[in-house]
Symmetry: C2
Subunit: 229 residues, 2 copies
DNA sequence: GATAAAATATGATTTTAGTCAGTTTTCCAA
DNA sequence: TTGGAAAACTGACTAAAATCATATTTTATC
């Protein structure tokens, strides 16, 4: 058992860093690490979660099924992010499904350790609260984008977002590779519309593609487009 | 000074109920009550808030200005709701503006009392956390609705939402009266489109109107419409 | 390496919603 | 009470995006 939370760098990025040594030890002793293949499900919408998932490696999409049968991707979670927090805290079943977008390593942490610490260590609780406050702000921004921006603007914004938050490889392609359908589900549009816009962006030199990989070719122009030209 | 938080029934609906007697006393001593006229602003997007606002009476719209110059209403806050929490907790300036939709009574509570309690009373912090978790879930739902439902469905849903959350008067009209423009800004559409849909709903007997008041005439049909008929 | 299945792409068409222009109604404030 | 502004409404037109159909490419699998 060499993978101790105490040594896990990922912890730096989430609320676990506010835990005391003892609390962290308890979490580390109770956690289990899982390898998850691309495309595999981590948890489902409506499922009762008895713990949270801490992402060590890879990226997961968090989505919600809409009445018309389409998935809307609400958030992408990568290294350091904790999934399922909201449901555990609210003591509700999950409102989102989590599916791996790339091969992943995640740690499952049973909720007891988390919930106990929430009630005993205010620093930890405040830290979790801050994170949630941040998520809420982001959600507000998404609402505004969804309702006020055109599909073209949202696609452009999605690429910029992916670049900023998940980085690029040496050749300048986005590190997270999503299928066209997933991109459409992030943006909230039809897959065909999304593909068309990608072609258009490519033709105009805003992005470059290589297989399903996408790279930002002209950041300035993309930004101008997002701002409403 | 007869309006003590200790006696305020509004408190039952928000996180303040988890405060101890002493903490509540402190809050009560530091708070100030304000009357706000319909249309008046409570705080602006980008403003640094040095406290939170607890709604005693009336309704406020929380909105965000989009790049194209339109307001998107992200949330409506009524009796018992606390506004500005997110910003105070995250120590950021507000991401939303608050404007009174009806005449209001709000209490301003300086942040010190809140922040201190957050660090000292885990029960309170967890309570706040629960509320925020709930808000976040609602925000996720809004994102999905915005991106996957038609304008017609969103308008129908807005009326049902208003009915459920703010009630109706004796004649069966929604208690919150919003202008057509505000409804459009909740739904994320053009005012004209919104008006057209309202006319259509009225013609089809889904709703009834009286001046700017709107009442639900056929809940079942409205629900069917929201579900995609 | 062949073949089926899935993902990507493109075209034609329809639906939906936004925009612009103008009219009517409502609501205040002088 | 009345004139002027704001809000509500209507119509015509345009633009954006969804849908349907089909072709092509990529990927996985035996």
């Amino acid at each position: 058992m060499k993978n101790r939370c105490e040594n896990c760098i990922v912890r730096q990025f989430n609320s676990l860093r506010a835990m005391s040594k003892e609390e962290l030890k308890r979490v580390s002793d109770s956690k289990t690490t899982k390898s998850i293949k691309k495309g595999q499900s981590i948890f489902e919408e409506g499922e009762k979660l008895n713990g949270v998932f801490c992402v060590r490696e890879g990226v997961s999409k968090l989505s919600k099924l809409s009445a018309n049968g389409k998935d809307q991707i609400v958030k992408l979670a990568s290294k350091g992010e904790v999934m399922g927090q909201r449901s555990v805290i609210a003591e509700e079943s999950s409102n989102l499904s989590a599916v791996a977008v790339s091969d992943m390593e995640v740690c499952f942490i049973p909720k007891e350790g988390i919930v106990d610490t929430l009630h005993k260590n205010p620093d930890f609780t405040v830290e979790v609260l801050r994170h949630m406050a941040h998520d809420l702000r982001e959600a507000d921004d998404v609402i505004v984008n969804m309702s006020q921006k055109s599909v073209k603007q949202r696609v452009a914004e999605a690429f910029l977002y992916l670049g900023e938050n998940f980085g690029e490889d040496k050749e300048g392609y986005l590190s997270v590779t999503l299928s066209r359908e997933d991109i459409a589900n992030v943006v909230g549009t039809a897959t065909e519309s999304c593909i068309r816009i990608i072609s258009e962006f490519k033709k105009k030199g805003l992005i470059k593609t290589s297989g399903k990989k996408i790279g930002i070719a002209n950041e300035k122009k993309l930004r101008d487009l997002v701002e409403g030209f």
